[in-house]
């Protein structure tokens, strides 16, 4: 299926992208659809990028649904383990 479902979120951070260089990222695009590379029919896909720098300024991940759920829990756990004043 093509879900078309796409969720966008503003991002303030950095990613290591094409040519092994770090760059500032401004946008996250999250969708559950066909992957380009992962050997699964559907994956949770996240594009981290900066549209102002062009289409190639992108770090992409394609995660199976189970591993995406695991990642979600890991992010939550990591944030909760840090002192509250650092993550506010």
């Amino acid at each position: 299926m093509c879900t078309y479902a796409t969720v966008k979120t503003a991002i303030d951070g950095s990613a290591k992208g094409p040519d092994g260089r770090w760059f500032h990222i401004t946008d996250g695009t999250v969708y559950f659809d066909h992957p380009v590379h992962a050997m699964a029919e559907h994956t949770l896909n996240i594009d981290f990028g900066d549209p102002a720098k062009g289409p190639a300024a992108r770090v992409a991940v394609e995660l199976t649904a189970a591993s995406a759920q695991g990642l979600l829990a890991a992010i939550q756990a990591a944030l909760e383990s840090a002192p509250a004043e650092l993550t506010a």
């Binding site: 299926m1 093509c2 078309y4 796409t6 066909h34 029919e41 549209p51 289409p55 190639a56 992108r58």
Partner: protein
Amino acid sequence: MRGHGGDEVEAYIARPTEDTARGGVVVVHHMPGFDRATKEIVRRFAELGYDALCPNLHWREAPGAAPDDAAAAVRARGGVPDERLIGDVAGAVAYLRSLPTSNGKVGVIGYCSGGRQAVLAGCNLDVDAVVDCYGAFVVGTPPEGMPMRVTNLVDQLPNLRAPVLGLFGNDDSHPSPEQVTELGEILIANGTPHEFHRYDDAGHAFFAVDRPSYRVAAANDGWERIAAFYERHLGG
């Protein structure tokens, strides 16, 4: 080639070497973009005896970018607008009809999101045959509140006069078997000639040879159906 608004758009063409008169096929690529697998499909239509052309629908947002980066950029911006799609396919149809080998007949085929777009083109352009390979949201309700701007085509289907070949997997959920049935009923009510083939043990993207969704039996039968359908409607 020239696309919507007279824009110069990248396109991939494959043609038989003979000088005989023949039909043309516009290939509408899937949402993952103007990729290698799509270009293989274009070459297959040339092998079948047609002048085949695929416009890069993501060219404007990402000229020269890798197909996956271009697809991601277009997706983030809301997808390919329907009006622009119609203009780009119109340009491809005109290009094919202008070739010295053209017999004047041109068909459109699309896969995945391109299946819907092939039907969209058929509702708005003078084409001779339409092939819809598991296009989602020809009928049904697209998700709301998302950046992707997709509507169903129910209100446009009465304008679809060209014969339609539909190829669908019974394990697909977009379009679901119920939606395929609904589309067939609408085409019957509208008097649009069509034939549908629905495959067991196949879901979405069963033609995609580089993906786990590939189903050789369904894809082989589908290719035979496509060849026969285009021979009937684009030949002569």
